[in-house]
Amino acid sequence: MSSMTLSRAINSGLRRALEDDPKVLLMGEDIGTLGGVFRVTDGLQKDFGAHRVMDTPLAEAGIIGTAVGLAYRGYRPVCEIQFDGFIYPGFDQIITQVAKLHYRTGGAVKMPLTIRVPFGGGIGAVEHHSESPEAYFAHTAGLRVVSCSNPQDAHTMIRQAVACDDPVMFFEPKRRYWTKGEVDEEITGQTPSIDSAAIVAAGDDVTLVTYGPLVATARDAAIAASDEGVSVEVIDLRSLSPIDFATVEASVRKTGRLVVTHEASQFGGIGAEIAASITRRCFYYLEAAPERVTGFDVPYPAAELEDHHLPDLDRMLDAVDRVMDRHNSLSGREG
């Protein structure tokens, strides 16, 4: 065990992956000499060479599309997209090729790509540097979508993602890159599995579901709620596609109340799927309609406004109050 930042934990996971399997390659813009704009790949090119840690031309479709070809040839490319908002030029290759090739070929061609995407806001950045595009990918059959929230998961999950024979969209909570935690780098294998959720705080009254950057906020909210006498169970989904509904369902059957929170816009976001699926699975257990606390349905705003867009502890608590039918911002209003 050693203490390291989330960013470093991914770095060490990638290092292990490169060591373990000669077919693993890293590709991306500025990931080599510079070590990535977040230094997640720092030192790896130096140690593994420019053939395995490749600075690529500035073109996301090019990165993903050549990675597809490499996968055809038996490689396991790990592509870095420099920031969330730059994934769209590569979207066609992801949706029409990466997600579909295994199905297209009846399982003959494997697409074990990992596509790393630093995502989310809260860092005061300029446009296109704070987005949460995960719902697009979660809606796409053939892709796995995961997000880590702490250094240990970051390390374990990146290794599992690289080892996974399916394409994995790996969303890294960029504002938590510098969060420190204990990491056991000797953990190998598939436990906990990459698509299982984790209960990160136990509680009885409300189930608060989230992932990535907001897990820390949700834990704080649970503590604050407990001060007010409300017991909140916090679930870190870890996998956004598939979602470990069994874990969420079990929790909601116990609490009878669900709040989902994410930075992404609300309309058609992951929260809608969770609310819809859990309503179906737990209809007779629900004490209140599931609530969502999300980024608003606006393009990601300028940095000075992001605090008025992103869910925070207070907005989570307000939603907890709503499902508890305690005094809240909508008290006295209907629906």
Partner: protein, 367 residues
């Protein structure tokens, strides 16, 4: 035999070894690359071209009879496909679009495998690793990047295997093929960009996509290119061999523009009478790749009745097998709709399938 030298592509000139009337002309730069093509090989190139055209006619007929949903004819492009396809090694890997049935034929595809996609049974007619050819690609231009990536893999593996990507004139307008050139040049990937400029992208003439000869694009990306008469099977072979040789010897990518013509509709759904000028089509008819080789064989006394009779018999035989194979194809199992989305089924999808199974069961024993 007249003499002619066509080293540079940039002037819009065309590499030609066989004129439309079947005359073999010498070309200092290219002749040596087909010097080994003896009479037998010439005859077998001819046979392949006739056979793939015959397959095409049969498949079109099958479509007209409702046995296929769609078919993209290659008629007119036989020399471009056979000339290049025949030069590849078995371990080379092909990333084509949807029209390269002639190339697939060279790869040794099963006849029925040519039809599965168009009969609506699957998205990939064959296991790509069986014939080292990716399934047909519908997203225009996408496969150029895959070829580049595959070539990078070959380079990393230290083997002299080459990846080749086929695409059309229309595809040159898309971002992907341009990015593919950037990547290929940057990493000196052993890849061949083989553009069949058949003058049309559905109803759009090549002039809408490109104001300069297509082959002139590659040099600006640092990639050498050739512009060859795509209806001249020898010129195509020579150019492809030059490119293969360059790639195998570690000298990077090559771009080939094979200038040809789509004699048929875009697909069986298309109605070219709305946009193709009959005179233009007739002009190209005179440059037909098969009659050209026929004339050449004739001039060498190789076009005997016995030979043509044998070729036609083979073509008919193949056509019969194609038809028979098509009609005999087993439709996919209903529940296979859920297979191979992931390498292992996910909980979500299993549940979905499970519910669908329950649902299907309500129809058994009449609800």
């Amino acid at each position: 035999m007249s003499t002619h030298d066509s080293s540079s592509a940039d002037d819009g000139g065309l590499v030609q070894l066989l004129l439309p009337d079947g005359e073999r002309i010498a070309d200092a730069g290219y002749d040596k690359w087909v010097a080994d093509v003896d009479d037998d090989q010439l005859k077998s190139l001819y046979e392949d071209m006739v056979v793939v055209r015959r397959i095409d006619t049969e498949a079109t007929a099958l479509q007209r009879q409702g046995e296929l949903g769609l078919w993209p004819p290659l008629i007119g492009q036989e020399a471009a496909q056979i000339g290049s396809g025949r030069t590849l090694r078995q371990d080379d890997f092909v990333f084509a679009s949807y029209r390269e049935n002639g190339v697939a034929y060279c790869r040794g595809v099963e006849y029925t495998d040519l039809l599965r996609v168009w009969r609506g049974h699957t998205h990939s007619g064959w296991n790509p690793y069986d014939i080292n050819m990716a399934p047909s690609q519908v997203i225009i231009g996408s496969q150029t990047l895959h070829a580049t990536g595959y070539a990078l893999g070959c380079q990393q593996d230290g083997v002299d295997t080459v990846a080749i990507s086929y695409f059309g004139d229309g595809a040159t307008s898309q971002g992907d093929p341009n990015e593919a050139m950037v990547f290929a040049a940057s990493f000196q990937a052993p890849v061949i960009f083989f553009c069949q400029n058949n003058q049309w992208a559905i109803s759009e003439p090549v002039g809408l996509q490109a104001r300069a000869p297509i082959a002139s694009r590659a040099p600006g990306f640092g990639i050498p290119s050739m512009r060859v008469d795509g209806n001249d099977v020898l010129a195509v072979m020579a150019a492809t061999r030059i490119a293969l040789d360059r790639a195998r010897s570690g000298n990077g990518p090559t771009y080939i523009e094979a200038v040809t013509y789509r004699m048929g509709p875009h697909t069986t759904s298309d109605d070219p009478s709305r946009y193709v000028d009959v005179l233009e089509r007739e002009g190209w008819q005179a440059k037909d790749p098969i009659s050209r080789l026929e004339a050449y064989l004739q001039s060498r006394g190789l076009l005997t009745d016995e030979f043509t009779g044998r070729v036609n018999a083979t073509a008919d035989d193949v056509a019969a097998k194609v038809r028979e194979g098509c009609l005999g194809l087993e439709p996919p199992e209903p529940l296979s709709v859920f297979d191979h989305v992931y390498s292992e089924p996910t909980s979500w999808l299993e549940r979905q399938k499970d519910e669908y199974v329950q649902y299907l069961q309500t129809f058994e024993g009449g609800q």
